[in-house]
């Protein structure tokens, strides 16, 4: 499934200053029963967002109208646990295009990149600055510039650069995915497969 190009994203952000946010919290297993990729945003952070009777939990950030935006800012080791791509789908479907954290779990990071959600890893200090800026002013705007690989707090110009390999960067700037790439390699792959011992 192709996705929209990612160039520059300017948006307010939603803070979630919790460490080790695992993919079971992002989307609990009981909501993985669909056979199509639709509606996962409704169940994003389901058990943190809703009570057992489906009423919203007032103290959860997604239920607080003050915090809005296309950027989710999470604590260290974001996305640990299960390989379910549904977690990345839920984040995308809810309306986020970027997750900022000081550390990402491996598979989650890869899944995000494959579906057009940009994982931006910043230093713990910069993450703290973002949280403080949002706490002081929930309308704080962040700018993520993928070409320049920078993240900026527009209010005061504080900036950090982030890593992304040039292959994935090109993909995201153009809205390509790996399948587009692999499809063109078919002959080479078949030749390799012929020589495999098993």
């Amino acid at each position: 499934m192709a996705y929209d190009k990612f160039e520059i994203l300017k948006s307010t952000a939603v803070p979630l200053p919790i460490e080790n946010v695992d993919t079971d919290q992002i989307i609990p297993a009981r909501f993985l029963k669909a056979t199509e990729r639709v509606g996962f945003g409704d169940n994003l952070f389901r058990d943190w967002r809703y009570n057992a009777d489906n009423t919203p939990k007032a103290d959860f950030v997604l239920n607080n109208p003050i915090y809005k935006g296309k950027i989710l800012v999470g604590g260290k080791n974001f996305g640990s646990g299960s390989s379910r791509e549904h977690a990345a789908w839920a984040i995308y479907d809810y309306g986020f295009r970027c997750v900022v954290s000081s550390f990402f779990a491996d598979i989650f990071r890869g899944n995000c990149l494959n579906i057009g959600v940009l994982p931006v890893q910043v230093s713990p200090e910069f993450l703290d600055k973002i949280y403080k800026a949002i706490e002081a002013n929930p309308k704080t705007v962040l700018e993520i510039n993928l070409s320049k690989q920078t993240i900026t707090l527009l209010e005061n110009g504080e900036q950090e650069s982030f890593e992304i390999n040039s292959y994935k960067k090109e993909n995201m700037l153009n809205g390509y995915d790996d399948i587009d790439y692999l499809t063109k390699m078919k002959a080479e792959i078949q030749e390799f497969a012929e020589a495999r011992p098993f």
């Binding site: 080790n20 390989s83 792959i189």
Partner: protein, 464 residues
């Protein structure tokens, strides 16, 4: 040049290296199940692609399946729909499929090794993070997302940057009542759930050398819980003996050829790892977790650490203990327990049932405990019966259910109710993992058995 086992296997599967980008990695064997594959097949169809090598993909139903009355239609329409999608997709593309009720059906990471799908020196992927299990055979095996499932279906490749290398050595001899599960939980408690992120881990040293294949699978299975891409153990005679003669293992001349290759699969003496850690087996006791991630574990005879004693944020730590209903400094032994779950891709193999039976033999299930004993596959189930373990289990007041992932992730009806405490042999104690509001203590089958007969968290060494 000296290289590691991991490098040898990885490098031999790289078709193309992209400058400042991932490697294009050929995948020998691909496992699929009903939950993470349907959208991949939809993607395949929408791009007018087909399955390039149907004989390299194997399907089993496990995540969503009921563990009682499997002969009846699946009641939950959404689950039934996913099972049907898997069956139809497998039939359409000519993929081997072991659906509900098939004698080879079971948890994907249990049936892979049982049927010789898992081989030394192979690359194996599945849309499930516990694919790391198969590293026990000297394979490179790891979990992938659904986009990657589609890649493997259409091209038999994925695109991944090569992870860094880590070696974890555990030397010495394991103490009485200490199992492979405890070794893994101990390592994770020392490294934290992100301590191996970005790495592929080779397990080495006396403890893994002396460990059974089942034990090695348990350890490799839990590699993901410290953030590692996967875990790998050098294949040896034990590995080859396990694989030989299994359904999809090489036969005849091919076996000989494969063996010649497999015998080269070890880390060279002076190979260098990006990180190397060594533990002493003597320091490991039966483990128990007390929090909401697998890194929050401790020796069963100890207490819950104070927030200041652990790495990481105090707020997240306290939030976690609040969820569990526990307090800093609490003693673990004697904690009230409501449910016991024996099963999952971590501890659903024959050895785990033998361990459980060794403790419950001649004893009775405690009245306050609801116990779910779920074999990893029908093959395991048959073995439990053949070895007489079922009689022992039944005599102690336990019942055996039918195979599946079950209460490990509670996608089916096997859900621990809100606020209830489960001692579970599975792999994750995340909030709500075993049902909304459920509280999970991860442990070995011995701890699970001891707790099941005593009714409170119990050190199995007191019953062995």
């Amino acid at each position: 040049m000296s290289t590691t086992l991991f490098d040898k296997v990885w490098d031999s599967h790289v078709i193309r290296k992209i400058n400042d980008g991932p490697d294009v990695l050929f995948i020998d064997r691909h496992l699929i199940h009903e939950v993470t594959s349907p959208v991949a097949f939809l993607g395949l169809k929408s791009r007018n692609n087909t399955v390039l090598y149907p004989n390299r993909t194997f399907a089993t139903a496990d995540h969503n399946t009921p563990t009682i009355n499997q002969h009846l239609p699946v009641k939950d329409p959404l689950s039934a729909n996913q099972l049907k999608a898997l069956e139809e997709n497998a039939a359409e593309y000519g993929i081997t499929h072991w659906g509900l009720g098939h004698k080879k059906n079971g948890i994907v990471h249990v049936v892979g090794p049982e049927n010789g799908i898992t081989l030394p020196g192979a690359t194996i992927v599945c849309g499930d993070s516990h694919t790391s299990t198969h590293g026990a055979f000297g394979a490179i095996a790891f979990g992938i997302g659904t986009s990657e499932v589609e890649m493997v279906l259409s091209s038999q490749c994925i695109m991944q940057p090569k992870p860094k290398r880590m070696r974890i050595n555990v030397n010495g001899e394991l103490g009485f009542g200490v199992t492979p599960k405890d070794v893994a939980l101990y390592i994770i408690s020392k490294l934290s759930t992100s301590g191996a992120t970005g790495y592929f881990v080779e397990y080495a040293g006396d403890v893994f050398k002396n460990m059974s294949m089942e034990g090695r699978m348990t350890v490799c299975n839990l590699s993901i819980e410290m953030g590692a891409r996967g875990g790998i153990i050098a294949p040896d005679e034990k590995t080859f003996n396990y694989v030989e003669g299994r359904l999809f293992a090489p036969k005849g001349k091919d076996w000989g050829k494969a063996m010649n290759y497999w015998k080269t699969l070890k880390t060279d003496a002076d190979a260098v790892f990006d990180k190397e850690i060594t533990f002493d087996a003597n320091n490991i006791e039966p483990m128990i977790t007390y929090g909401t991630n697998p890194g929050m574990g401790t020796g069963i005879s100890t207490h819950i650490p104070k927030a200041e004693e652990v790495e990481g944020g105090v707020t997240s730590y306290r939030k976690s203990l609040d969820y569990m209903g526990f307090h800093e400094g609490d003693t673990m032994i004697g904690k009230k327990v409501d449910f016991v779950f024996l099963g999952s891709c971590t501890n659903g193999r024959i050895e785990d049932f033998r361990a459980f039976a060794s403790i419950v033999k001649g004893r009775k299930k405690a009245d306050n405990i609801t116990a779910w004993l779920v074999p990893g596959s029908h093959v395991v189930e048959e073995q439990i019966k053949e070895e007489g373990l079922l009689d022992i289990i039944n005599a102690a007041g336990f019942e055996l259910r039918e195979p599946g992932c079950s209460a490990c992730l509670a996608m089916n009806d096997d859900k621990v109710p809100a606020g209830k405490v489960a001692v579970s042999t599975s792999n994750r104690n995340f909030e709500g993992r075993q049902g909304p509001g459920s509280r999970t203590l991860l442990a070995s089958p011995l701890v699970a058995a001891a707790t099941a007969v005593m009714g409170v968290l119990t050190d199995p060494r007191t019953l062995l």
